[in-house]
Symmetry: C2
Subunit: 353 residues, 2 copies
């Protein structure tokens, strides 16, 4: 049997303000090294490459913001990644538009290939488990759109949940229900009851299946994306979507535009060491800590300090005698706060100009 | 009676590493605004200018490091200060050499004028009291070298002390003894006993008196300074000392080279609101605090934070929920520490290169 060919489609649209001052509009989170040696977008592309038994990844399709065009080019090139296509959105229109573009561009490049649609800014600590889940998803994808469901480690209130329905195959289930971000008692109930996964925002599908479901559930988004693609500027592998057309595409998450409406949704529960690194506190927790429980990177001097995340990029940071702080410095800005205030970052980002 | 003409001689030789990362070799403390709106060297020069009754300040003589030549020029110019002379030391040879240069250059410019020798990096909160003390010192300076003695506010162990002897005039005493930096019980004894002042490093003298005492106590330093001055490059008001000669001048504090040996030492006890801003903690204490007991300067965002010194120069700093910290950021480096660890700064200054 021939290998299953898959286009990794890497969504690089996030702005990541919770990781300010490292993550900025000019260079959001996915263009920085967080939890890996290379930038998250490179790590994501490298993770989804090569042949793994009966699974073969083709060159990635990257869908990113137009303002990050040269950054995307540069980062992929420095890791020797040859993309199948680079699609640039003149503005963000949420993930439904991106998913439609993923299906349209993949089908254009190779109508037989599958799509693994994945954000550029997620950590996957167990890539071998990711491949296993892709394999399981591929087995049902002739007729299903498969969401990767993360096995919850705790009753997180920051993610949506997916309730698993009847088994469709090895490690793949029908979706019984999508659940909004729950209150804590509800989340605790999900964990206790079992059979729930976090909604990761990772999808596996055949392009034509996704496009059919768009036609049923949100045809306008599919048509808008197709039109913006038709009028796009194209050079080499780069596609610049038409701004006038794309700006009018309805902005909606793919979960709402398609997944909650389609009858062909499936969920593949998996334990892939997933994290979306949603805050500095979470990065501290996920990272290897030194003897003083500090997580330190860049040019940093530390004396008598414990439990801190200290990150210096293009600037030196010296720290004496403090505990449990987040200290992040770039040539533009410095952030100092206790780890347990990490959710308040947005309140102290200065206005631009 | 004609006014007493005085050359302020401003010693700008300090390196101020305790105020890193703001203060650096390239731009030490005296070239920054600390406790005033302008840089300390400008504040010092502006404070010692103009006519005050029978006291008339001439243009200042600034003695600074050769590497700071353009910085000194620039800062004086922007405050409209016209120096009588700028003397540049190719390397630091401690304050005795500087005091000899002060006397030699002042005598050359105007043999009738007195010298007020003062470090560029001291705060004087009560300039009117400084003028009063100058007046008192001038009254005895025909035959005396007058040290300004700061009335102690607490038993500080970081300064030398001067024991006052017999009164020489209004607010001027003979020096009974110079005392090294004392242990705390000794300092407490001085305060209890009374009649002791902190040794400020501010001196008032007639150039010929100082030069005579150099001839008696440390003739080699006087001769070395005179030789370096003779071979100096001169252009406009700028004097660049000869490096080969000046490097061989004996490096010693003027207190030891002259003051502890001369029989003509006097002390003028005064309460001029003096501070040498020896640490970030001291700057916090000396500065006006806001409602949250924070001392903030530069582009800073503060949320739920109390008792901090936050200083941003050429970079933005955002602070959430921390207390009693020193946070200082420049485009090169960031320092974060509790205020009570301020004396440990030197331990975390990174090596250059």
């Amino acid at each position: 049997m021939a290998a299953t060919k898959i286009f990794p489609v890497i969504m690089s649209g996030g702005s990541g303000t919770r990781l300010w001052p490292l993550s900025t509009e000019t260079r959001p989170k996915q263009f920085h090294a967080l939890g890996g040696a290379k930038s998250m977008i490179e790590e994501t592309a490298l993770r989804l490459s090569g042949k793994h038994g009966d699974i073969e990844f083709l060159g990635p399709i990257v869908i990113a913001g137009e303002s990050h065009r040269s950054l995307v080019r540069e980062l992929l090139a420095r890791s020797g990644i040859t993309p199948a296509a680079l699609v640039f959105e003149p503005m963000g229109r949420n993930t439904a538009a991106t998913a439609a573009l993923a299906a349209l561009v993949a089908r254009e490049l190779d109508p037989e290939a599958m799509v693994l649609l994945m954000p550029a800014d997620h950590l996957v600590a167990r890539p071998e488990a990711l491949i296993e889940t892709v394999r399981a998803a591929a087995a049902v994808a002739s007729d299903r759109i498969v969401t990767f469901g993360i096995t919850p480690s705790h009753p997180e209130t920051g993610y949506g949940y997916i309730k698993q329905g009847a088994a469709l195959g090895d490690c793949v289930h029908e979706v019984a229900a999508f659940k909004e971000k729950p209150k804590l008692p509800v989340a605790e109930g999900y964990i206790k009851e079992g059979g729930y996964s976090w909604n990761s925002g990772i999808f596996f599908f055949r392009p034509d299946v996704m496009l059919e479901e768009f036609s049923i559930a949100s045809a306008d988004i599919r048509d808008g994306a197709a039109h913006a693609l038709k009028l796009a500027t194209r050079k080499d592998r780069e596609i610049g979507l038409d701004p006038a057309v794309f700006s009018k595409v309805r902005a909606e998450p793919v979960d709402i535009a398609v997944m909650e409406k389609t009858k062909r949704a499936a969920v593949a529960p998996c334990d892939i060491g997933w994290a979306d690194v949603g805050s500095w506190a979470e990065l501290w927790r996920l990272s290897e800590q030194d003897d003083g429980q500090n997580v330190v990177s860049g040019s940093v001097s530390v004396l008598d300090a414990t439990g801190n995340l200290v990150r210096a990029e293009g600037i030196h940071v010296s720290v004496i005698g403090v505990s449990d702080l987040v200290i992040v410095a770039t040539p533009d800005a410095v952030l100092v706060m206790p780890r347990d205030r990490a959710q308040d970052v947005k309140k102290v980002i200065p206005d631009k100009g």
